[in-house]
C-alpha cells in the first residue's frame, strides 16, 4: 500500500471522527452524552497530532484534555442536576440567525482556502526538525518561550484560585 493512500485514509477517517464527534457534541440533549462525544473528538485530534509528528502534544492532549478537563466536566455535570435541563428546550431563540451567520463564515473560510490553497503548497518546507519531539519541545518551551511559559503557569495559578473561590459554598 503506498504511503500516500495510507496517509489519506488516516486523515479522512480521523476527520470524520472529529467532525462527527463535534456535531454530536453540540446536538445531544444529555450533557453527559455531549461530553462523551467531545472525548471522541479530542481523541481524534490527538490522532491527528500523532500524524503530524507531534507525539508529545498528542500525549499531553489526552492527559490534560481527557484525563483532566473532561473529568472535570463530568464531575460538574454530576454535581449540577441536569435532568431538568435535559427536558427543556435545547436551543435558544436566535438559533436560526446564528446558524446562518456561522454558515456564511464557513463559506468565506472555504472560499479563501480554495483561493489560497496553492500558497500552502508552494510555501517552503521549513529547515528545522521535529524529531526528537520531546527534546525539541523542551527547548522550545524552556528556552525560546520561557516567558510565555511562566505567564501560562501564572495563569493556571490564578485560574485555580478563581475556580476554588467560585465553587466554594460560603466565601
Amino acid at each position: 500500500m503506498p504511503e500516500s493512500i495510507l496517509n489519506g485514509l488516516f486523515f479522512y477517517v480521523l476527520a470524520v471522527v472529529i467532525l462527527g464527534g463535534a456535531i454530536m457534541t453540540i446536538t445531544r440533549r444529555n450533557a453527559v452524552h455531549s461530553a462523551i462525544w467531545l472525548v471522541v473528538t479530542l481523541m481524534g485530534v490527538a490522532g491527528l497530532y500523532l500524524h503530524l509528528n507531534a507525539e508529545f502534544l498528542a500525549a499531553v492532549q489526552i492527559l490534560v484534555y481527557i484525563g483532566g478537563i473532561m473529568v472535570l466536566f463530568l464531575f460538574v455535570i454530576m454535581l449540577v442536576n441536569l435532568d431538568e435541563a435535559a427536558k427543556q428546550r435545547q436551543f435558544n431563540r436566535q438559533w436560526s440567525l446564528a446558524l446562518i451567520c456561522t454558515l456564511v463564515v464557513l463559506v468565506e473560510f472555504g472560499f479563501f482556502l480554495m483561493r489560497g490553497a496553492g500558497s500552502f503548497a508552494f510555501a517552503e518546507p521549513g529547515q528545522g526538525a521535529l524529531k526528537p519531539n520531546t527534546e525539541l519541545m523542551a527547548v522550545a518551551l524552556f528556552q525560546d518561550y520561557l516567558l510565555p511559559f511562566e505567564i501560562a503557569s501564572l495563569l493556571l495559578l490564578v485560574a485555580i484560585l478563581g475556580a476554588v473561590l467560585m465553587a466554594k459554598k460560603e466565601i
Binding site: 500516500s4 486523515f11 455531549s34 499531553v60 466536566f73 456561522t102 525560546d144 510565555p148 501560562a152
Partner: protein, 102 residues
C-alpha cells in the same frame, strides 16, 4: 487520492471551528457551551500543529501547549462559575441568566 496537504488540515480546522461556533451561539445549556468552546480551541490547535509540521518549526507545537493550558484554565474557571450559578439561580440555561446581579 490526492496528497494530504496543509490545506486539508486548515479546512478541517475551519469546519471544526464552525461547529464549535454554532454550538456556542445556539445552545442554551452553559455546560455544552463550554464544551463548544473547547471545540473551537481544538480547531485552533489543529491549525498550529499543521503549520508546525509544514514549516518544520517547533513554535506551533509550543503554542498548542499554551492553548491547552488556556483551555484548562478556562474550563476550571468556567465550571466554577457554572457551579456558583447553579447554586444561586438553580439553572444552567444561558438565556435565563439575564440579571447583572443576584
Amino acid at each position: 487520492m490526492p496528497e494530504i496537504t496543509t490545506a486539508h488540515y486548515v479546512m478541517l480546522s475551519a469546519a471544526l471551528f464552525s461547529i464549535g461556533t454554532i454550538g456556542v451561539l445556539t445552545r442554551r445549556n452553559v455546560v455544552i457551551i463550554l464544551m463548544s468552546i473547547e471545540l473551537i480551541l481544538n480547531a485552533v490547535n489543529i491549525n498550529l500543529v499543521a503549520f508546525s509540521n509544514q514549516l518544520m518549526n517547533m513554535s506551533g507545537q509550543a503554542f498548542a501547549v499554551f492553548v491547552i493550558v488556556d483551555a484548562a484554565a478556562e474550563a476550571a474557571v468556567g465550571l466554577g462559575i457554572i457551579i456558583a450559578l447553579f447554586r444561586n439561580k438553580e439553572t444552567v440555561n444561558a438565556d435565563e441568566i439575564d440579571l447583572m446581579k443576584w
